[in-house]
């Protein structure tokens, strides 16, 4: 974990409103774990003031530019354009200077090999699941349940399939895959594989529904959360979520940026309205 001044290698729209950006990132293959994230500085000048957190989609290598140079290590992030920062990001080009602080946070615990692993991704929540899948497929059977509002929200499914992940797509409007919520699919899969471990990332209502399902079935669950972050390193205490056993008198706040973004479900306080810290989106 360190801050590097680096450059954009490429930045392309992969689905309406979703972009995929490759950023030169030496050492990430050695240091980053599935589920970790970066604090991305969009540009040297304002705006935006604060960095933006993004999950690491994958780490890769590009051939070196010439014989005596090292291969170029990069990370990829995938982002949805939602506000002032991502609007500027979509206009970045190859060679533009940016800064990466990372890899940050606590990632997924891959658990025991050979178990059934079910990944549940909702829209952009799919991002941190790819590096996880890369690792899990080495030892386990992996299924991806991917949900979105419309087919535009279903991204990079082919890439999961290339890893050997069985993927099941559902959309709320039925424009791709099964019509309905991804949680319906999860229930069916868990009927079939009741001993599976579940890894989920997506919008809070989806995560809560997944948690209800897993809790009632006694299925082990890890969730990756989003929270409003200023520092990304545990210094500002902006990104807290309530941990299991939290009360007003004996508060148990956990920093999403250091204790998370991935949490074992049992570490969190799931009483409603507690974990929904970014429901209303960020500030414009």
């Amino acid at each position: 974990m360190k801050n590097i001044k680096t450059i954009v290698l490429s930045n392309q729209e992969i689905s309406p409103g979703y972009f995929r950006m490759k950023i030169l990132a030496p050492d990430y293959s050695k240091t980053s774990q599935p589920g970790q994230f970066v604090m991305f500085r969009v540009q040297r000048s304002l705006p935006p003031l604060l960095r933006r957190p993004f999950g690491i989609f994958r780490v890769g290598f590009m051939p070196a530019d010439c014989d005596n140079m090292p291969a170029k290590e990069f990370i990829e992030i995938i982002y949805k354009v939602v506000g002032s920062g991502t609007e500027i990001m979509q206009r970045l080009h190859q060679g533009d200077p940016v800064e990466l602080l990372g890899p940050l946070g606590t990632g997924f615990d891959c658990g025991e090999p050979a178990e059934e692993k079910i990944l549940v991704g909702g829209g952009i929540g799919l991002v941190p699941l790819y590096s996880l899948a890369e690792k899990l497929v080495e030892t386990s059977r992996v299924r991806l349940l991917m949900g979105g509002r419309t087919r535009d929200d279903i991204i990079t499914v082919t890439e999961f399939e290339r890893l050997g992940v069985e993927t099941y797509v559902s959309t709320e409007d039925g424009s791709l895959g099964e019509e309905g919520l991804v949680t319906q699919v999860l229930e069916r899969k868990l009927d079939k594989y009741p001993k599976a471990t579940v890894f989920a990332c997506g919008p809070m209502p989806m995560i809560e529904a997944v948690q209800d399902i897993c809790l009632s079935r006694g299925v082990s669950l890890q969730v990756s959360l989003e929270a409003l972050m200023a520092c990304g390193v545990g210094a500002c205490l902006s990104c807290v979520v309530k941990g299991a056993g939290h009360t007003e008198i004996e508060p148990r706040y956990l920093c999403t940026c250091t204790s998370g973004p991935v949490f074992a479900a049992e570490k969190l306080d799931w009483s409603k309205t507690e974990v929904k810290m970014v429901k209303s989106g960020g500030c414009k």
């Binding site: 003031l49 604060l50 210094a235 205490l237 902006s238 807290v240 500030c283």
Partner: protein, 312 residues
């Protein structure tokens, strides 16, 4: 003013405030640098003038509900609610880490009553690694209808006087900018025995989500910090420097050496960097290097020769 030369020694950046030697005038602002350890992977703490901790209270404090922060134009609002581990846990769990470094440690603290302030100060008094205390008076006085100590010169005077009695360490009083006449609170703190003043704490502000019609912070109102507030901070530091005899530390929207220089020129002896740490964990190192470069370019042999050189 002695002119330095490129061939001569590097410009001297060290400053002395209330008997404490700082290797340079740059330190973090409380609450933006955790307990130091959070930024240690990114920045050599030995480079800094001082480390300033998150604000501590007598008992651990939970802080506010989320959302606690929100970006605004060239600034941010925060209503963290002073979440902290409490003074005892700090001394036990956090101080040992900080004592590894050669950098003076300034402990920021607060209370919701005069007595709480006094008690926290007393507990820190015999902790050897603590170089100075910074008393945050931007807190509501629960015994007096929640009026912020720092906005009521009498309450500020009383609280500072009490703390003064309970500590032998150099005492920095951190002023709130949300007042009509800051010179009055500044003098009240000085008269009550403060050794140093630091300012500004955040300006109270608010933002609304126009779709949900809700405030963007769970706490409705929060504190505005960042580059946006710098002109207000420079003005207030300028006014306080003119009102008191004791040294002043300048805070507010500093993200570059140029910004720090504005505060030094109006008379601050040191500066604190807050929000800029979030933007760039290396910000303070860049600022220190920038101060050195500026001195070199302008032929200033010792940064003390620059302090308070505003020409009116």
């Amino acid at each position: 003013m002695i002119k330095s030369d490129d061939n001569l020694l590097p410009p001297k950046l060290a400053v002395e405030i209330a008997g404490i030697k700082f290797k340079n005038p740059v330190m973090p602002a409380s609450g933006t640098f955790g307990y130091g350890e959070e930024y240690a992977p990114y920045l050599d703490l030995n480079q800094l003038g001082a480390v300033v901790t998150k604000g501590l209270s007598l008992h651990p404090k939970a802080g506010n509900n989320t959302p606690r922060t929100c970006e605004t134009v060239s600034g941010m609002l925060n209503a963290i609610g002073l979440q902290n581990v409490g003074v005892d846990a700090f001394i036990r769990d956090k101080m040992p880490f900080l004592e590894q470094f050669k950098t003076p440690v300034i402990v920021n603290f607060f209370g919701n009553t005069q007595d709480e302030y006094g008690e926290v100060a007393a507990r820190l008094d015999d902790v050897p690694g603590v170089a100075a205390l910074e008393m945050n008076i931007s807190c509501p006085n629960v015994k007096h209808g929640g009026i912020v100590f720092g906005t009521d010169p009498k309450a500020a005077f009383a609280a500072v006087s009490l703390v003064r009695k309970r500590t032998t360490k150099p005492l920095i009083v951190k002023l709130t900018p949300n007042v009509t006449d800051i010179q009055i609170t500044a003098r009240a703190a000085e008269d009550a025995g403060a050794d140093v003043l630091s300012l500004i704490n955040t300006l109270t502000g608010m933002a609304v989500d126009v779709k949900t019609r809700k405030p963007r912070l769970a706490n409705t109102i929060g504190g505005l910090s960042g580059p946006a507030i710098r002109p207000i901070a420079v003005r207030l530091v300028h006014q306080v420097v003119q009102a008191v005899q004791i040294p002043v530390i300048g805070i507010g929207g500093i993200s570059r050496a140029m910004d720090a220089l504005e505060f030094l020129i109006v008379g601050a002896r040191a500066v604190q960097v807050g929000t800029a740490n979030f933007v760039d964990p290396n910000a303070m190192a860049v600022i220190i290097a920038g101060l050195e470069e500026f001195c070199r370019e302008e032929g200033i042999a010792d940064i003390n020769d620059l302090i308070g050189t505003l020409e009116l």
